[in-house]
Symmetry: D3
Amino acid sequence: MAQVLWQNLTAAELRDRAGRGAIVLLPVASTEQHGPHLATGVDDVLCSEVCRRAALKLAGQNAPVVVAPTIGIGLAEHHMAFGGSLTLTLPTYHALLRDLCGSILRAGFSRILIVNGHGGNMSALNALMVELTRELKAPIATTSYWLLADEAFAEILEDQQSVLHACEAETSMMMAVRPDLVDVAELPNALGPQASGAGSVLSPPLHRWRSFQEFAPTGVIGDARRSSADKGERLLEAASSALADQLALGKPWN
Amino acid sequence: MAQVLWQNLTAAELRDRAGRGAIVLLPVASTEQHGPHLATGVDDVLCSEVCRRAALKLAGQNAPVVVAPTIGIGLAEHHMAFGGSLTLTLPTYHALLRDLCGSILRAGFSRILIVNGHGGNMSALNALMVELTRELKAPIATTSYWLLADEAFAEILEDQQSVLHACEAETSMMMAVRPDLVDVAELPNALGPQASGAGSVLSPPLHRWRSFQEFAPTGVIGDARRSSADKGERLLEAASSALADQLALGKPWN
Amino acid sequence: MAQVLWQNLTAAELRDRAGRGAIVLLPVASTEQHGPHLATGVDDVLCSEVCRRAALKLAGQNAPVVVAPTIGIGLAEHHMAFGGSLTLTLPTYHALLRDLCGSILRAGFSRILIVNGHGGNMSALNALMVELTRELKAPIATTSYWLLADEAFAEILEDQQSVLHACEAETSMMMAVRPDLVDVAELPNALGPQASGAGSVLSPPLHRWRSFQEFAPTGVIGDARRSSADKGERLLEAASSALADQLALGKPWN
Amino acid sequence: MAQVLWQNLTAAELRDRAGRGAIVLLPVASTEQHGPHLATGVDDVLCSEVCRRAALKLAGQNAPVVVAPTIGIGLAEHHMAFGGSLTLTLPTYHALLRDLCGSILRAGFSRILIVNGHGGNMSALNALMVELTRELKAPIATTSYWLLADEAFAEILEDQQSVLHACEAETSMMMAVRPDLVDVAELPNALGPQASGAGSVLSPPLHRWRSFQEFAPTGVIGDARRSSADKGERLLEAASSALADQLALGKPWN
Amino acid sequence: MAQVLWQNLTAAELRDRAGRGAIVLLPVASTEQHGPHLATGVDDVLCSEVCRRAALKLAGQNAPVVVAPTIGIGLAEHHMAFGGSLTLTLPTYHALLRDLCGSILRAGFSRILIVNGHGGNMSALNALMVELTRELKAPIATTSYWLLADEAFAEILEDQQSVLHACEAETSMMMAVRPDLVDVAELPNALGPQASGAGSVLSPPLHRWRSFQEFAPTGVIGDARRSSADKGERLLEAASSALADQLALGKPWN
Amino acid sequence: MAQVLWQNLTAAELRDRAGRGAIVLLPVASTEQHGPHLATGVDDVLCSEVCRRAALKLAGQNAPVVVAPTIGIGLAEHHMAFGGSLTLTLPTYHALLRDLCGSILRAGFSRILIVNGHGGNMSALNALMVELTRELKAPIATTSYWLLADEAFAEILEDQQSVLHACEAETSMMMAVRPDLVDVAELPNALGPQASGAGSVLSPPLHRWRSFQEFAPTGVIGDARRSSADKGERLLEAASSALADQLALGKPWN
């Protein structure tokens, strides 16, 4: 099977791929509490997996592509009160993305898509696209992995509409790829407030900053009790297919 | 009528209001192209007006309130290609909000609501709430003036659902408060792509940064041709009432 | 009458003015305590008014000119102890001026004059001219509105030589343009230490930083008791005429 | 076997470990060219592996320990000319380490050891220890994984004394843990200048900054031709044992 | 004679002096072109000398005092076009003064007077006093060495009123203390525009930034032709006496 | 004798030297505790002296050279607990070196060698070379004055191998050039832990940051009791000759 991970390629292979105009997917995630039943590395595992699958699909169509090393730490101030969580400040996150995207450009690539796997990064990524594009003079792009497959996600999930937090969606996908990081004994406790989307809880139209713990003491938004590996597999396929399809069409650069 | 504008109050009056626990509304806007028919100061005019009206409604209920001086410059990189537009970088915007909110806190106030009047500021404000709250150790809050009255806006408008850009909503409100800044002769040209919201055009699920000019060469999203002062007056009342009502209920701090 | 305010012009009008080589006046002020009798927005009102008048005089001579939106917040740490005052730190002020002047240059203008209306900004503006000129590679200029008309000011004023703080000069000018923001009942208390200039009190040859409150507990330097709208009108005309005259001669860029 | 990786633990498990006074190992590496025969992710793989092994040894002695997520990007400006390499600037690296160590402290841990796996990070880490300790008021410590086992390394290696770059040591260790990332067909080309240590080539007593390519065009310092998985296994055991032994003795905090 | 220079004292002696409440004079100068006849180090030599003399006078009265190492580089952008000149940017200057004053405070001293010897530093020092006082929470003070003795200077000088640049005053003082750094053969060329003060040339009421070379191509403001060591000696005594006298009176901290 | 110090040359002389391709030596030192017997300015005195001697040797061979003003303050956090010490933070040090080297380049020079005289600066200088070279696009070089003459130093010294701190080497050199700054009465107390090099005490393979006071309460590493001016003279000649010889060979730029 094709090798798509930057860190698994030699410099010569990466030079070659840059020379062929490869797209670079840069997964960005977070390391933070994920309820009583999931390891803190969920966002890293899932975002990396979606990117890997999307890249393999593209590679299978002979589209040159590389997946850069996942940035496993993101913006998770709202989870800090739970312990076990890591966060960057916004200026650090900006600097980190600038240096990384700048390095990728210097390595000869020209199309970078930051693929996000953590709700708490979304606003910042939207705001930082402007800065990065101006600073680096390159068309940096972004998405969050569940956004392109929202209809498929709504169909697959039984108790939710979309990805929430430590929820039916995340738990199912973890069961599919890293079942060792799901503590099924804790599943009965793996539920919290329901919501149409994590954003509607964290950033309603009028809001002050609030700790996640204030509105979701279990560390969960949604209901993970009916999670399954099968759902997870279908979710991962839906997300990675949707992403690969868009990229195969030349989006978002054409 | 009660005086609610910070800059129109003496220091003694402001000390008194701080002592009574007043809420501070901090309007943040932008100075940027607004199509062929509107002056560049639209966001400043409208956001200031909504805050003024909301504050007067609260003052009429004996709720202590102050409207801080409007920050008339925001994040408008996507409008720069049109000329006539001013923008800050994200780090400058962060520093400016930190210093201003910090000053308001030092003046004895403890509840600050940043009321936004420019779509391009929204993601940044969401991201900066986290930083400001941690840096200043105070519950800074935010909203965008059209978000709380979305149903009323949808009802009043004929050709749109919500506020877009230099559109039926903005043009109507300008006709109501500053008709001298609306060039009605240009109204026939005041239309551009339609959208469910400005964000869906500027930040679709998968996007690279794009200049506004690339997808809306007229500088307009929406259709301003059927704008009217009457619609504008109703929109301003809807927005300011919705805001005042929420604040009167103690939101978003309770 | 000619429209000279940036925020009241459309993008097309501003592009046109840039194409004609217009000078941009950028008023910078402060929002801070102004004694017992004046609103905190005095510097913003007066600096904006001097710029507006000067620009109209130039426009009347067919000289293209624009007045950018006033920066209403400046460096007022020395007033913070009074409450009701807002201040920026020097690095924020630097960043703000850099971004704003940079935007004006990107909008096609090449001559920017920062017109200052607050004593506490003067040293910083002198120091920042160096930085801005090097950073932006453009001949940014500065003045404080009372400096060019010092002889006329000395003649018009009865109890002072120049602009001090919340004094005969500022109070008179406010009476001329915003009498609603002067509390005449407080005029008998509107006096403080006399000085040849505000700088001689705040920055004597050997000085440590001191709060304004330490040497002027009323918040006034000078004596506002014999202020009048007539004096104010003459002061505003003297300042704006002196500025317009210098600019009409091509200064300070020739 | 004990779980020692932060990202594989739940928040509750991490809170528990913090409460028991666990040491946190923070592996820091680099993603950069590693000669014709090795993938760019070598430093990440090896540094993570040494930390994992050391932590398991400690856990086996009932010493509480956690391995934080590896920072896979470091300071690799000298490798950029080869392509396939990623680098941060020093201020970004400083900010990243400050935020990460700060997060670990906020999560309740008090002893952090940054375990380095990339020669190019060493000077910066020495310099940054001072800053981080002062900024975070916590005794941040550092080592590079090969330093504590230098005698054992010298004994195991046949053609080198210590870890160089893409060399006998690194290639052997990769053969032990990720043989899929070693291209044995390229081994005959996997040699470059010999040196007593990588530092003596990169930072001789009198030096200007030089690209790695200038003195080692193959991307290798040392000679990888006689690498073997067996040597690699012994090197990894020597490094991780030496680290675990020191930590078991309470160093470097006692 | 008493030892007053920080760098010539042992740590124990400095701890003792801090314990006795010593004032610290921090000389700040510049290294920059000084006309055809003077070395570039003039400001450093003279400012250090005035501080040394003032400190010895105070020490002679048993007032504890220390002169910190002179900061020999300042803000000299306006001299850069001549070559031979060194300059800092304002943010660097700010950081340098903050770290140095912070160190002096940590060494146990509480009263710091920054004694300036370069006209180009004056505005920045005025602006930075505000920042340093707030950041360090300590009453940092400043003066420029010629300001306190302006009447004496006017009397001693024949062709000038005050210190200009590479002028009668500076040349005379250099003749008194470092005659080896005065090229008397060039004295006939050592003249430039006259002015009441250097500031009136560099920062007139309405000004854009200008290179010194633009208005003083010889690198001189004033007229150095009638300089003499005797005048220089008197100037140095006047300046240092005036400074010592003010400090002996407890100014500017009482 | 040739004049080699920047601050003792006129701008015209410096322009001339730049035109002839002169090397610029930039001495960087520290002001910090140096045991009971030495003044705090030791590193400045010695580093300046080595550079001066090396430059005179080069000038004697008609090689154009200039010694820039010594940066007398460096990175000395580990000495702060003793009092009498000054330190910069790493970001300030970076900014200072960037501005200074940038100024030297703007003055027409192209080869800059930072000559270090303080152990605590070494790691930072190694790390900053990368940044400065990239930022300034110029081949900035560095050395520490004792590194090039290590064999000669080992031979001259009786109780040490190399330069430690306030030790036989530093004390002897001070006796040679500034005997007035050596308190011989304190020599019997001038000893501390022995070490092969200062780095091995301050930065062993596994270390946390520690105050110098923690492992060397006397403020000395090494043994200064058998110091002598004769040894000092030989050390200074060895160091400056070694440096001049390397530079005469075109190193490190060829």
